[in-house]
Symmetry: C2
Subunit: 398 residues, 2 copies
């Protein structure tokens, strides 16, 4: 018998997309579905960056340099300066989305059987890249009671073994929206120094912080060799389909190793590198406008959620996600019920059950992630649906 590999079997299906067939069936029944389940922003991609592609006039769609176009990498240096990150262009390797930066980082720094510690709940696709790389994900649990702050360092230390090679953080966090404080980042600095670990820092949502200041892992002192920044233009410029990210580090050995993986796949996409390079020339107030919009959405969605009976929802400092605890026994079943059985004025809402974001089985069963990627009117309409749904469900919950 021809067989699938073990890793092919172990590979988790996307927890964000597994309810898609139920949503499609609902739409076929004429129901409008509000998609709060996935981080695809509705914000328009800035016209100048799309125009840069549309006005391009090359004749041959060539491979770029495996590390990305030098002109783009040099411009990225100026972007990073604006957020207090001081790097040279040759410390930047352009990747196919932030996804590839995560995969390359794991591949270059960790071997099969090595362990990486990740505060949970975490971005579910870290699991996928870990399975691809044969790496074991060891979760440390952060809790809704303190808004999903970084777990205490003792909790990390309990999980450290001789096989532990790295910690991954996402800051501000997907799925919790939590923005790590200066003190939390300092604690991470100390632990990676003490145990000689890599710190993979996924900063996809850096520009979307509503309270407090974003502290990049690249701001930490004395850990230049440890820190590997995973970045992407997907959320920053609402350009998810471009598939342009970056791996940034001052660790020369890591750069050299990652470069070999980059050469094997030849180059990152050429069209979107043109867009990404043009993005650096957007007016300085570009992020202010987007950020104000997201902040208004966050304020609304949190206000609506905490006003619902039995719902717990922290007010997160960044990104465009919240995790809410619902008065249900099993959010997976509830989210499916929303799509299969419920409607309010021919509308319903699609949420991501949070269980898929936990590494520890059984956690997050009452929690859902909501991505506030819809406009204020739609968020209100979606919250109307959810509020009604919780009332109906409470009377029928088994």
């Amino acid at each position: 018998m021809l067989t699938i590999s073990n890793r092919g079997n172990l590979m988790p299906p996307s927890p964000i997309r597994k309810l898609v067939p139920y949503a499609e069936a609902a739409k076929k029944r004429g129901i409008k579905v509000y998609h709060l389940n996935i981080g695809q922003p509705d914000i328009e991609t800035p016209k100048p960056i799309l125009d840069a592609v549309r006005n391009s006039d090359f004749k041959v769609l060539e491979y770029s340099h495996s590390a990305g176009n030098e002109s783009y990498r040099r411009k990225l240096v100026t972007y990073y300066k604006t957020v207090g990150i001081d790097v040279d262009y040759n410390q930047i390797i352009i990747t196919t989305g932030g996804s590839e930066a995560i995969l390359f980082g794991m591949m270059a720094c960790l071997d099969a059987g090595d362990e990486v510690i990740i505060p949970e709940p975490f971005y579910a696709n870290y699991n996928g890249f870990a399975v691809a790389a044969g790496v074991t994900v060891v979760p440390v649990t952060s809790v809704i009671e303190n808004g999903f702050g970084l777990p205490a360092m003792e909790e990390f230390e309990k999980k450290i073994t001789p096989k532990t090679k790295a910690i991954i953080i996402c800051n501000p966090n997907n799925p919790t929206g939590y923005l790590y404080t200066k003190e939390e980042m300092e604690a991470l600095r100390q632990i990676i120094l003490k145990y000689n670990l890599y710190l993979f820092s996924d900063e996809a949502y850096r520009e979307f912080c509503y309270e407090g200041t974003h502290i990049s892992a690249m701001h930490l002192n004395g850990v230049d060799e440890n820190v590997i920044l995973m970045d992407t233009i997907s959320k920053r410029y609402s350009a998810c389909g471009g598939r342009i990210g970056a791996l940034v580090t001052k660790n020369k050995l890591v750069l050299d190793a990652v470069m070999k993986f980059a050469q094997a796949r030849l180059s990152p996409p050429s069209f979107a590198q043109i867009a990404a390079e043009a993005a650096i020339d957007l007016p300085p107030d570009y992020f202010n406008t987007t950020k104000a919009e997201y902040k208004a959405r966050r304020d609304l969605i949190v206000k609506r959620l905490v006003a619902m009976d039995g719902v717990v929802c922290p007010n997160p400092g960044g990104a465009f996600y919240v995790i809410a605890q619902l008065p249900v026994n099993d959010a997976d079943i509830f989210c499916q019920w929303l799509l299969e059985k419920f409607e309010y004025q021919q509308q319903t809402v699609m949420l991501a059950p949070a269980s898929g974001f936990y590494g520890t089985a059984g956690l997050g069963k009452k929690e859902v992630r909501l991505a506030y990627v819809l406009n204020l009117n739609d968020i209100n309409a979606a919250m109307d649906c959810l509020e009604k749904a919780l009332l109906v469900y409470s009377q029928n919950q088994p």
Copy 2:
């Protein structure tokens, strides 16, 4: 000490790109370098497919479906029909270049420690993907004496062990240009059936066959479950920078497993999918024009090479590569010498030493790969350089 992973250390640097610093130094000295070392065609990307991107009018650069846009996959079905391949759109997963199709195939079908047999010389990046996947490459040697025809089945059988899971072929072949015959494809069919192996068939150069007929692995009978087609638009439409490929198979379990890897990295690039979809509407004679150009180049480069003293060069049936055996002891040293020490009328030529395409150490030491991706005038000028260089070198060779 923070360490690089074993696979990071094992990862081979690109043999095609390792001479780049010498080429750059030559250019700084004012020398014109003819690049026959890399498969970046000079053929213009068809204007209609670039225009499709330039005339696009979407507002948000969104993720596509993880398997690629359904509209594109449906159109690809019609392309495949024109080459006698009958598949359904849901048997096609769009990948980020052919590169990702190869990686996904290995990841989904093979585990670390499993073996894949590949006729050598082979596309060097198969090594890279094998290292990433922890898979062992087992070469079977094809030889210049018969133009790099498929090795006898007994040679394959000698290499088959309980860990053998797949055979990879590239047809027509990179780096040899060899086009497998119907009999050779039939022999492969029998061996994969007999030993229950996957056949990964890289058909990037399908449209460029100058003699004989291209037999796709998808044309073979009774091996639907075994065959996985790795494809790409890179060479077909001179669109290497798009990074659009495809994995095609009728094996449902493989599709399901690959889909999970595809979901983890979210989606293939959106801009280039627009170009790729437009490519299906190119006039039917598009390939004829390109093919005639490549054939003229092949005829010229082979004629020039075999006319040189001591040079052996088969006349390959497809792709845009030839492998030539040169009257030198070590082609690696010679290729570096061409860039460092030689010039003819302020010009020189960059070739790819063939040793990097062999899995067996010590093979191909006198051989080089030449990519005929330059116009006829430039090929003639490059061959003038090479002819002079071989004369000079023969008088100075250690």
